[in-house]
């Protein structure tokens, strides 16, 4: 009998499994869905050394804005005023990111937490004021305060709204821009691509769909696989989204209907498709962002509010030799016409690329089917201010614990989730082991 069953084999589940195994627990991982080997995000050092690559320049637009890890070099493609302000902007954002990085590696602070308040105070007056103003701001407004170049602002807006159904004029997207800076050197606002495959080593992983989480007398007793086989366990750690874990895998009747209703209200709308292109040869650029101005990004968002695919998609491509990964936004999570998505991506990118040999498209619907991401949302719960920190994914669940004894949640929907690779799993496992 194994003591712990970990449901899911994403980076968060694997990190949780490793921490528990290292603490002497017997752990078995049950993998239900495919897992991407390379994940875009920040892998904090605590979860182990993983190979991370990031393009340099990390941002490049069609009309010549090029931003590098070298802040001075970035200034060359900017106008004089923007060039002067870019290093100042980078400094301000780096200081705020340092605070977030610190609080992301622990369970979320409570809303009224004196220690958290003291940490914030340590930023000093300027830093505090920055933080209080910045968190609720729209990215477009923050960038308008700093810069003139419409392309620069548009491309940064595209990064700020990545994977959320919000536009750059929506409050809270400046926080998103800051979030995408975490773990990167000063001056880089694009998360790295991380190879998470090594996280699997040393773990027992079974591939099987799961039928249910077994509960008896308010405590978990194990997991029943689709084959009917039962794995008994006193602890079950699930990486799927809370609505699925609590609403579908746990038998009805054990949980408060209000909590279940709240899990169904967690917003997890996928807004992007992923396209992988195989080219004749490597393109001349390591990355290319076709976003236009902040208004263009906002207009692209307008369409998805009414359930339509944007006429002008936001395209963000990162090359890996002759292979190119393209993030395509905004599409409603119901979009299934992959041929149409492909045609439009090719049309918008064509003039910037060598000949395309082949391409694969994953629509939000595909992403849900293949990877188990609810509505195709890779973060399981969109990272907006009402679903971040002490609210992530719901205040009742923010401590990784569920009302059922022995059942824990560790997936991307948990704090900090959303592109902080493995941190939710790490925090969850530490909470299970009773250490802060």
């Amino acid at each position: 009998m194994s003591e712990v069953v970990v449901l899911g084999a994403g980076p968060d589940e694997l990190v949780a499994a490793r921490v528990l195994q290292q603490a002497g627990r017997r752990v078995i991982v049950v993998q239900e869905h495919a897992v991407p080997e390379r994940v875009v995000g920040w892998a904090p050092a605590q979860i182990g050394r993983l190979e991370a690559t990031r393009p340099d320049p990390w941002l490049r637009t069609a009309d010549g804005v090029e931003l590098f890890a070298d802040v001075k070099r970035s200034a060359k493609s900017l106008g004089p005023r923007d060039a002067e302000r870019w290093p100042q902007f980078c400094d301000r954002m780096a200081r705020l990111a340092a605070l977030l990085q610190e609080i992301y590696l622990q369970p979320p602070p409570s809303l009224i937490d004196m220690r958290f308040a003291l940490k914030v105070r340590r930023l000093g007056r300027a830093g505090m004021e920055d933080l209080m103003r910045l968190l609720p701001m729209p990215a477009a407004e923050l960038l308008d305060e700093w810069f003139e170049s419409h392309t620069l602002k548009g491309a940064l807006c595209a990064l700020a709204v990545r994977d959320i159904q919000q536009g750059p004029r929506s409050a809270g997207t400046a926080f998103r821009l800051l979030h995408s800076h975490l773990g990167s050197p000063r001056g880089v606002f694009r998360p790295a691509t991380v190879n998470v495959a090594p996280l699997r080593s040393g773990l027992t992983i079974r591939e099987s769909p799961v039928a249910r989480i077994d509960v008896s007398a308010g405590a978990v007793t194990g997991v029943t696989l689709a084959s009917g086989e039962t794995l008994s366990a006193t602890l079950v750690v699930a990486g799927a989204d809370p609505a699925r874990v609590l609403g579908e895998l746990v038998e009805p009747g054990w949980l408060d209907p209000d909590l279940l209703r709240a899990t169904r209200h967690v917003r997890s709308r996928g807004v992007a498709a992923r396209v992988r292109l195989e080219l004749d040869r490597a393109p001349e650029w390591p990355t290319l962002t076709l976003a236009g101005t902040a208004d263009d990004v906002e207009r692209a968002y307008d369409a998805v509010k009414y359930g339509r695919v944007s006429d002008r998609l936001i395209i963000d491509a990162v090359a890996d030799g002759p292979a190119v990964d393209v993030h395509v936004q905004y599409l409603p999570h119901t979009a299934v016409d992959t041929a149409d998505i492909q045609a439009r991506v090719v049309k918008q990118l064509q003039s910037h690329l060598p000949a395309i040999r082949s391409s694969t498209v994953e629509s939000p619907v595909d992403l849900e089917r293949i990877y188990g991401w609810p509505e195709g949302q890779p973060h399981h719960a969109e990272l907006s201010l009402d679903q971040a920190l002490w609210m992530r994914p719901l205040p009742e669940l923010s401590g990784y614990r569920t009302p059922l004894r022995g059942l824990w949640l560790c997936g991307p929907a948990m704090h900090p989730g959303a592109g902080v690779i493995g941190a939710a799993g790490h925090n969850c496992a530490r909470a299970m082991l009773g250490s802060p």
Binding site: Q166, A171, G172, K305, D386
Partner: protein, 525 residues
């Protein structure tokens, strides 16, 4: 030169409230109003012979009950007539009416969605509780969380303790209200499009934001903070128009000895070695007082009346980036007969309530989309009241006045506002409304269209923002109007602010004026 203890610049309802409280504490107070009549945007006028209008602001709900009580406004002539219902006409000829009568309301909601009828009470209880949690904050001067001053620390601790004593559940509900969009928030509760549309409309008032913009859920709460005669959620109409609110506060102020001077346009506030020394009028008169309080908005106060060189650099920068972006307009109609709404053609109690053109969230969001890019909404949101139904003195017998609050009419219109565009906008409003009430056009005797540019020109509100600055999260509480200067004080000694551009801002509430007076008098809330 006659010396006063305090001079208030601007005779709007907040300036008058501040003056009244200062005078009540024994100060010698002078109010200077640029226009020939007091009231600012809370102003009634006989715009067309026989027809009186609340030209700008048009309903009363947020006016703080303690102000009504302490300044004895009822004795000074304030009479509030409650609005009993909200009618939302729908394109298919149906309607949704929200009644103040509980059972009637429930039956009507159930007609649209039995589930919504069930959820409605629970929703009301939650928002009522949230409103209660927020109310003490409306009465206080926001502490500065970055300050190390012992008094500020103490206040910060008090706020912290207050929140810690709230149940966790309420705290989280409050956070959701602060950060979510009205549409997302309402989606968690209701399914009827008309109900969600009408409720979310209260979240967008006065801002250039749509119902799907995060941060708009908070303003839903304002409807539950409104409190008339102790009844929550009651909206009312001041007898004689909203100018009567200002008139009552002015009467109370005068009873306490306040001197009010109209046609007294202030050209600048003189600063001498970091201190506000005097007020200089446009006619050259210079008036000296120990305390000068500005009821004008932050931009007019600091970048107009006070010169920028008298301000610390970061403060001036904060005031410059303070957002206004007015997006609201008014259309005032004099009508020869009552409009007949296709959905409820006969005159009835619904005509004494509000009428809301907000059939769905998408309708409002589309209206916003156009404004975002600098166009006025082709099919705008409207909040309509017919004051003559409640107060027949507003119009000649048998005739009526209709007040239409409209969004969105962005101040920053592409190409700017012109007379042609104003009239085109007026036509859009009338045409849209006529789809629901076909006899409207023939009933119109006169029409007055007030755009944000007009509001700025006439009342002096920058960019026509009715709240003296957008009520968005980064401009609220201790950030309103600028960090470190939210306590009604300013970097200039002896100069204070008391307008809606300070906490809690917005609406004919009077809280800013009262809080400023308490701060000046050194009274802790």
């Amino acid at each position: 030169m006659k010396r006063h203890d305090a001079i208030i610049v601007g005779g709007g309802h907040n300036g008058l409230t501040c003056a009244a409280y200062l005078a009540r504490a024994g100060k010698k107070v002078l109010v200077l109003e640029r226009r020939e009549r007091i009231g600012g945007a809370a102003f009634s006028d006989e715009v067309f012979p026989g027809f009186r209008f609340s030209v700008f602001s048009y309903v009363v709900s947020l006016l703080r009950p303690e102000i009504i009580r302490e300044l004895e406004l009822a004795r000074h002539g304030l009479q509030i007539l409650p609005l009993e219902s909200t009618l939302t006409p729908l394109a298919n000829g149906d309607r949704l009416v929200q009644w103040s009568d509980h059972d009637q309301n429930r039956a009507e909601l159930a007609r649209h969605s039995p589930r919504d009828a069930e959820a409605y009470d629970e929703f009301g209880v939650l928002l009522h509780r949230m409103a209660r949690a927020v109310k003490p904050l409306l009465r206080m001067a926001p502490p500065d969380p970055a300050s190390l001053h012992p008094a500020e620390l103490l206040d910060m601790l008090r706020v912290g303790r207050y929140f810690r004593e709230l149940p966790q559940k309420d705290l989280h509900a409050l956070w959701k209200l602060l950060t979510m969009s009205a549409a997302d928030y309402l989606d968690e509760w209701f399914e009827s499009e008309a109900l969600k549309g009408t409720k979310s409309a209260s979240g967008i008032i006065g801002t250039l934001l749509g119902p799907r913009s995060p941060g708009t859920a908070y303003v839903l709460l304002h409807h539950y903070i409104g409190e008339l005669a102790g009844v929550f959620r009651a909206w009312g109409f001041a007898k004689g128009g909203n100018g009567s609110v200002s008139a009552a506060i002015a009467a109370a102020a005068q009873a306490h000895g306040v001197e009010i001077r109209t046609n007294a346009s202030v050209s600048r506030i003189q600063v001498k070695s970091g201190r506000a020394a005097s007020v200089v009028l446009e006619n050259g008169d210079e008036l000296v007082a120990g305390t000068i309080v500005s009821g004008a908005d932050p931009r007019r106060t600091f970048l107009g009346l006070v010169r920028e060189e008298n301000l610390p650099e970061d403060f001036a920068a904060a005031i410059k980036r303070y957002k206004f972006r007015g997006a609201s307009a008014k259309v005032n109609l004099a009508l020869g007969e009552l409009p007949r709404f296709t959905c409820l053609p006969e005159p009835g109690p619904h005509m004494r309530g509000a009428i809301s053109i907000s059939p769905s969230v998408d309708y409002l969001e589309r209206a916003y989309d156009q404004a975002k890019y600098g166009e006025f909404s082709k099919r705008p949101y409207m909040d309509i009241v017919m004051p003559s139904m409640l107060d027949p003195s507003m119009a000649p017998p048998g005739k009526h006045v209709m007040s239409i609050f409209v969004q969105y009419a962005p101040y920053h219109l592409n190409g700017g506002w012109t007379d042609e565009k104003r009239e085109a906008f007026g036509d859009t409003v009338v045409n849209t409304l006529a789809e629901y009430a076909p006899n409207l056009k023939s009933a119109i005797l006169h029409r007055q269209v007030v755009t944000p540019a007009d509001i700025e020109r006439i009342v002096g509100l920058s960019e026509g923002n009715i709240f003296q600055g957008e009520l968005s999260l980064q401009q609220m509480f201790f950030l309103r109007p600028a960090p470190a200067w939210a306590r009604y004080r300013t970097p200039i000694h002896g100069l204070f602010q008391c307008g809606s551009g300070t906490h809690p801002g917005g609406g004919v509430m009077g809280a800013s004026g009262r809080n400023a007076a308490m701060e000046i008098l050194g009274v802790r809330a």
